[in-house]
Amino acid sequence: MDARIATENPEITAVAPGGLAVPPELRPLTMSPLNRRRWQNFKANRRGYVSLWLFLILFLVTLFAEFIANDRPYFISFEGKWYFPVFVTYPETTFGGDFETAADYRDPYLQKLISEKGGFMVWPPIRYSYNTHNLDLPTPAPSPPTWMLTHEQCQHVLERKGLKSCSDLEYNWLGTDDQGRDVLTRIIYGFRISVLFGLTLTIISSIIGIAAGAVQGFFGGWVDLVFQRVIEIWTSVPPLYLLLIISSMLVPGFFVLLGILLLFSWVSLVGLVRAEFLRGRNFEYIQAARALGVSNVVIMFRHLLPNAMVATITFLPFIVSSSVMQLTALDFLGFGLPPGSPSLGELLSQGKANIQAPWLGITGFFTVAIMLSLLIFVGEAVRDAFDPRKTFG
């Protein structure tokens, strides 16, 4: 009762009308019908589709975090010359300052030097970078969002800078953390580093996991038996304790953390891919390929891998979100990225330490919650899209 009913009289339409005359044409560069069907299924899940776009927009925007939130201007015109501080570090002496050190463009002294010579600066929308300390805090850090400040709170800053009302101050839209750094800027950078970390970890661990699973599933027998036991022993090592030990010996940077988490995350796909290969290697089209004399490597790549990929791709968004979660958890515990890095976990732990400053905890919570929810929604839609009952049904 399936598609065959729709194909009207299949055996009769099959007769070739002088087929030899047809010139061999290049294969059109379009999506295969199967993938087109999947894309339709994916789009039919509105929540997942919208989530994908939101996530992509957020990711693309934060990828250019330096152009949104930075303590260096995009562009300076000074004495008839053009400078691009976003890309190049200039010493202060370039603009008539006294020191050979890198120019601090937020310094009122430097700003005055530039404007006196008729120069001007073009700033990003937010004039803080993730490690910029706001030196004009109206209250002791952590300081509340500027729009929440009372006149009394900002009075002494206003007097010092000669301004009239709180709204004339440089805005910290989501307040500052306990070191006077802008929270909004830190979550923009934090989102980027989390997603990049999650994606990198997922891609590398998938490649290793798929390769290992493919070899085990395809060759089976002793290879499979030995590998499976090794993996069983490996997964029984508690990763958190190992991480604590390693991070006390190595300075845990982005790549060290990536390496450590990679040691354990690659096993997650092995079982799945192995099962797909074990199932797939007995299919008749694999036998047919063998009968054609196709080599093992080609069989694995051309015939088995594409079929194993469906199950794998379904898992990927969930692996990304669990990788992000791992990084956040480590940061929260203080074993993650080095101090000063813009990390969401660190923001959450600041929120925990500063109950009187709810903007820290709330911001951290919503950022992590929205990011993970988007990924999970995308994952659900991907799972639906690859559901064979929907693809063929």
């Binding site: 009762m1 194909t7 299949p10 099959a14 070739a16 009308p17 054609l292």
Partner: protein, 545 residues
């Protein structure tokens, strides 16, 4: 049918629609038929004709709500089953209507003993437990002809043969003495000899219990043997109905005529006793070791192929027949060196014994295989063009893209497919078309020898005949040598010029096809032919249960 008798089951204008996403397909279109007590009605049609959907909707076993009935009623003993609630329906199922499915391997729960499975139904509908239930189960197993029923009570499904499992399924269906038994292709998955036994059993039980049988099948031979009346279905509609005698003698609808004449016809190619030998084996053995214990010591062997010697000459077709498990497919794979075997295999005069995978590669372009399942033998992720040209990539890597394309087009034209369809994917083709693609993949390398492993078994009758014609035509035009493996003797008789009958890995009879068919010597061969051509069962002891 006598008009004064109220029918037991009366189906009126029944339609079934399946929804996929936004659009709906009508699988069954306003079907009407009646069934009286003690009568057998056969529903005949190709796969996809809606015969199973009709049967399942009587039991209301379709995947609702993605399936629905736009119109129609199913009157059973005066009640409209379509309008019954799920609760009331559960009381009907397994009690007054029961069903036997096609696949005995998957319709029994592998984790329960057969006693438990049969007594569950007795408990549900009659509340029988303990000794009373056990007594009834033994009675039922005796009825369906299971030997030593008491000893079989504790068996699990995997310990039974396919035929025995189907007998257990029938016992379950009969447990509450139903008024209507729906048999959905109950013998399709079984060997011909077992099929004959099951059909005889159903007939006997019907005579004893007087129930009505709705028999769904695609095999007209079975219809002639078992049914009183027949409904021919095509694309969801009943195109012809009547008594079996009338329909078979004077079919009216063109589709019925086509079905009746669809049996594979034509003559096999002549023997070629002086032609060059293509493949020769001598005492070929494929033994699978049975390993037991901690150290995996070999305690014995399963002798899948045990000492078979064959010789195939150019242009001939050697038919290999036998029941499932007789080793015929294993023999085919061993000849192509796709599994390891013992004993010399010579191909085109060269010994293939001991060659490694890479050393085999140059020979592969001359030997090809076509498999049984047209759905499993094509990679779903490759376009037809890629599927066919894969062999060319391996064996003629220097071919330009244009030349490769020309060869693919020629192969597709040869198997009767439109070459414009070569960028489509396998799931867009029907079963018969897919089998043609599989044949195209085999012939594109211009081999001399092809092993055909049940290439027609998964296809409908009409399409079987077309594929048989295609193969014979290709053989003549390209001077191919075939080994044709099948359990379907009708197809074999249309293609094979020499015949090899296998049982338990050994050859029981061998010779020119015409002689073997006309005058079978071995009692097993005779039983096989009787079952296949006349659906008659062999005397006890010759074939397994």
């Amino acid at each position: 049918m006598d008009a004064t008798v109220t029918p037991l089951l009366s189906v009126r204008d029944l339609s079934v629609a399946f929804r996929h996403g936004a659009h709906e397909t009508l699988a069954v279109d306003r079907v009407s038929f009646d069934l009286t007590k003690g009568e057998t009605l056969a529903l005949v049609g190709e796969s996809g004709s809606g015969k199973s959907a009709t049967a399942l909707s009587i039991m209301k076993l379709l995947p609702y709500p993605s399936a629905r009935h736009p119109c129609g009623e199913v009157r059973f003993k005066g009640r409209d089953l379509i309008k019954l609630s799920e609760r009331e329906m559960r009381r009907v199922r397994g009690d007054s209507i029961s069903i036997v499915f096609q696949e005995p391997m998957t319709s029994l729960n592998p984790l329960h003993t057969i006693e438990k499975q049969i007594s569950e139904i007795l408990l549900l509908h009659r509340g029988l437990t303990g000794a009373a239930a056990r007594k009834r189960v033994i009675e039922l197993l005796t009825q369906v002809g299971i030997h030593e029923p008491k000893e079989r009570l504790g068996s699990y499904p995997h310990q039974l043969s396919g035929g025995q499992r189907q007998r257990v399924m029938i016992a379950m269906a009969l447990a509450n003495e139903p008024d209507l038994l729906i048999a959905d292709e109950p013998t399709t998955a079984l060997d011909v000899t077992v099929q004959a036994q099951i059909l005889k059993l159903l007939k006997e039980i019907q005579a004893r219990m007087g129930m009505a049988i709705l028999f769904i099948t695609h095999d007209l031979g079975i219809v002639r043997k078992i049914a009183d009346r027949v409904c021919i279905m095509q694309q969801g509609q009943i195109v012809e109905h009547g008594t079996v005698a009338n329909v078979f003698r004077a079919p009216e609808h063109p589709y019925t005529c086509a079905l009746l004449s669809a049996e594979p016809k034509g003559k096999a190619p002549p023997l070629n006793p002086n032609g060059p030998v293509i493949v020769r084996t001598d005492d070929l053995k494929v033994w699978f070791p049975v390993k037991r214990g901690l150290l995996r010591r070999t305690v014995g062997h399963i002798k899948a192929v045990d000492g078979v010697s064959i010789e195939v000459r150019k242009g001939e077709t050697l038919g290999i027949v036998g029941e499932s498990g007789s080793g015929k497919t294993t023999l085919g794979l061993a000849l192509l060196r796709l599994i390891s075997s013992e004993g010399p295999v010579a191909f085109l005069g060269k010994s293939l014994q001991g060659l490694k995978f890479k050393e085999m590669r140059p020979h592969r372009r001359d030997m090809q295989i076509v498999f049984q399942d047209p759905y499993g033998s094509l990679s779903p992720r490759m376009s037809v063009c890629n599927v066919i040209e894969e062999g060319l990539w391996v064996h003629q890597p220097n071919l330009s893209a244009a030349e490769r394309g020309r060869k693919v087009i020629r192969a597709l034209t040869d198997v009767g497919l439109n070459p414009d369809t070569r960028f489509r994917y396998p799931h867009e083709f029907s079963g018969g078309q897919r089998q043609r693609i599989a044949v195209a993949r085999a012939i594109v390398l211009e081999p001399t020898f092809i092993v055909l492993d049940e290439p027609t078994s998964a296809l409908d009758m009409l399409i079987q005949a077309q594929i048989v014609d295609l193969l014979r035509d290709l053989q003549k035009r390209r001077e191919l040598t075939f080994i044709f493996i099948s359990h379907d003797l009708k197809v074999v008789s249309a293609l094979a010029c020499r015949l090899l009958v296998m049982r338990h890995g050994k050859v029981v009879e061998e010779g020119p096809a015409s002689e073997v068919f006309a005058n079978p010597q071995d009692p097993y061969t005779r039983a096989l032919f009787a079952a296949a051509f006349n659906l008659e069962i062999a005397p006890e002891g010759v074939v397994a249960q």
